[in-house]
Symmetry: C2
């Protein structure tokens, strides 16, 4: 094999959303001598750092013949600078492609095969089409329990793993699907106020209008590197940071690249994604909230039981102590849906304001109580009372402020400049609220990338409404997004069901 | 919904291999007002033509703020010109995405759901990640017979359909997997010389070093539009053209965009791909060759029987008369592997040259004979003799020349400037040749995009070899590709197995 060809970097600044792409002229010596064409996989090295990129062939003068461009993701991976030399070589077919094809064709994967795929995923060697095919080939119950264990372990092995040198290390997770169900920051505040160690790494939204990291980011910086996370946890006993920045399960972060635009979040991937991050974060005790409801992510008690079994089994195989709680998933929780609106609810609860949404408060207390008992901080049956005392007394709020300041400073969540109320068209009682349509509308309004965007709910199941009474308000950061969400809502009146007497 | 925003086209000439991509500046008014980000799906219109493109966000000065760029595929779809105005709008989520997700999660698709997916695929509305997920979700036996029928019918409905106003209309297909097995042009020449109507549309290679269209293209133009195909067939009774140019199964052509780089060709897709093109081409009688061998695409008689059943059932459901022939797939056929090398073998057979490879000649005669009987042109038991007479007498060659001239002119296949023999390392008898490794090496040498590239085989199973005797010769159009194929061969001596006495 040749040592490769030299080209000089030109900044094109093309953001492909994380996919590594190299741009080379069709008439350059490299393309011609290597027979490269669009979509060829190319190995690119600079100063000993190597990435694999997908080739896009350029037929215009945006590049000179001796120049190459990189997508922004590839540019940053290589720490590129204008004019610098890179070397490009043909990329031999990835060994793990044999395993990937085998899975696509319906075969079981061994631990070794799974590890080979996940290593290549974590190293950024898979183009989006391989990632999408892998995710699809593993969805729909096509990973068995042992494969899910293997996937989880492979994800842990492919990243960093933290060790806190003590136990228990508490963690708490919600499988999602319930808009506004943002209990995590409250639980962390209560648990750490009770003396538990809880270094919480959270994800950004994959298919929802907000992840815990998105919401927390409107209140404090969450993009902390590992030394910073350690400092915060040593000082305050806990943190609420974005997991992606600490490289705990890099393969999972890459897979999200295709899961998000496809709105996919399959069972095996979900379990591996959740538990790999817990293991990598050094957690010992993990409490998992599974909301169950017709329009939640988990739709039936049967599906919840299956997921619980899988989480328990995989957790145990990876050395975790898990406790799984099934909760009511029939409607959104709290009032706000979207990063800043949810943050506003959190603040009201932590500060014991009279406007605080009671349903979110009670859920957070129940989960915090279960965690205190489970980790041995409270005796069985006394967890909720203990948690309530920490919240009511303001000690949880004091702790939350301390954590936010340790992360870089507590701040006020932004407020959307464009809002529009959606009113009831008839009088009666609200009998259902569709979680999926609520999430969809909040996303169309711009959440989570527009942090102030989302929905603010004014009714819940059981509320009595009159014609013209606002049921919820759409918040957006741009007129286009507001209009877009409103257009969607006009054609989906079933988002709130009103029983007319 | 707004009528969209205006931007002016700038030619960037970025070839993404058929994926429609739009490039817009992050700071342009459209991105800001619509909340667009990398990977947003955008509806782009110009002069009433609409496409859906994936957004790549630009942070450099390759675009001015009021400008947008398009990938070459999108540029051509919109018939773009520098400076012209396009309108961009947010793309609402595709309705068929619900069906796609349902399939990924393991559910059966109804005919309507399948049609909705395939319509969006054919119209270019799916980005590569959706295509890859769809292909993976349907692979590995995850399409049942009725879904395969639905997929096939949907593919037919999404494209043009020819009607020749008479019957029978003969067709012949090989499921592939056997390097060098290029019988189609010979069968067309014999069948049309016998008076059959055989408007043959062929594909380019998906995962192999050559498709029939690639090989034929080295002998005559194959990129004919529909009126041209009609003229050729009216005049000569048959043709050998590329199916992609006549838009017979556009959805299939789009799916190949992800099947090729992933080297995927699953059973349900294969059946739907093959039969949809036959139905759309107006064929009534279809002969299908399934080579069976350890290293062929179909590896066992059991797998062949299953595939035969599926092809028969789906063909019948779509109104085709099918005949399926299982053939020996234990080793490559003929001498050349790669477009031009296979074309050279075809010419030798059609011209009755003494150097013509006998195995390829006999396979073509067997298939042509079966087709003549099956379509009622020869009495049962007399097909091969009739076919042989047409070939030996030169009438098949005369007809082939006439067809090639009608398509635009017979030409000489190109010859590779770089060749290198691979010699036996020991003496003995050849006991096995690995079809997959042969194909792989031919592709690494540049086939099919470099038409003169490939392998030229000098031995077959049973051949006696001595150390230093050439077993095959690698042909390449560039030194880089030659080196690349030789590097691969060095590490894969098992490509030819020699039994030492």
């Amino acid at each position: 094999m040749s040592a490769g060809h030299e080209l000089h970097l030109k900044w094109l600044g093309i953001d492909t959303y994380q996919e590594a792409v190299i741009y080379m002229r069709r008439d350059c010596e490299v393309c011609r001598s290597e027979g490269f064409e669009a979509q060829s996989r190319v190995r690119v090295t600079r100063n000993g750092v190597e990435i694999v990129a997908t080739l896009n062939v350029v037929d215009s003068s945006i590049l000179a013949p001796h120049q190459a461009g990189l997508s922004s993701a590839a540019w940053h991976q290589l720490d590129g600078h204008e004019g610098e030399t890179i070397r490009v070589q043909p990329m031999p077919p990835l060994e793990s492609l044999v395993a990937l094809r085998s899975k696509i064709y319906g075969n079981r994967l061994t631990e070794l095969q799974m590890q080979s795929i996940i290593n290549d995923v974590a190293k950024g060697r898979y183009p989006n089409i391989y990632l999408a095919a892998f995710v699809a080939a593993c969805a729909g119950g096509r990973l068995d329990v042992e494969e899910t264990v293997a996937l989880t372990r492979a994800m842990v092995n492919a990243g960093q793993r933290l060790d806190w040198g003590r136990a228990p290390i508490a963690d708490k997770h919600c499988v999602g699907g319930l808009p506004g169900n943002r209990t995590t920051p409250i639980v962390v505040a209560i648990a750490t106020a009770a003396g538990l160690i809880m270094p919480k790494t959270s994800s950004r939204a994959i298919t929802s209008p907000a992840g815990t990291a998105d919401t927390m980011e409107t209140l404090a910086p969450v993009d902390l590197d590992l030394p910073a996370v350690r400092r915060v946890v040593e000082r305050e006993g806990g943190c609420i940071v974005w997991g992606g920045a600490v490289n705990l399960s890099p393969a999972d972060d890459v897979l999200i690249r295709v899961e998000r635009p496809m709105d996919l979040d399959s069972e095996g991937q979900l379990v591996a994604s959740v538990l790999s991050k817990k293991v990598a974060a050094g957690s010992s005790h993990v409490l998992i909230d599974i909301p169950v409801g017709h329009t939640a992510k988990v739709r039936s008690p049967q599906a919840a039981a299956l997921l619980k079994t899988l989480l328990d089994h995989v957790g145990r195989s990876l050395g975790l102590t898990t406790r799984i709680v099934l909760t009511d998933g029939s409607q959104p929780v709290g009032r706000g849906v979207g990063p800043a609106l949810e943050a506003r609810d959190l603040l009201a609860i932590l500060k014991n304001e009279p406007t605080a949404p009671g349903d979110l408060r009670e859920r957070a207390l129940m989960l915090a109580g279960a965690l205190l008992e489970f980790c041995g901080t409270a005796a069985d049956g006394t967890g909720i009372a203990h948690a309530r005392q920490l919240l009511d007394s303001g000690r949880a709020w004091t702790k939350f402020v301390a954590i936010a300041n340790a992360q870089g400073g507590l701040r006020q969540p932004p407020v959307a400049p464009y809002t529009h109320p959606i009113c009831a068209g008839s009088s009666g009682q609200v009998s259902a609220i569709d979680n999926r349509l609520i999430s969809r509308a909040a996303k169309l309004a711009g959440a989570p990338s527009a942090p102030a965007a989302g929905l603010d709910l004014h009714v819940m199941i059981g509320s009595m409404v009159e014609p013209g009474m606002p049921m919820f308000t759409v918040h957006a950061e741009t007129p286009g997004e507001l209009e877009y969400a409103l257009g969607y809502l006009e054609t989906h009146p079933e988002i709130v069901t009103i029983n007319t007497p």
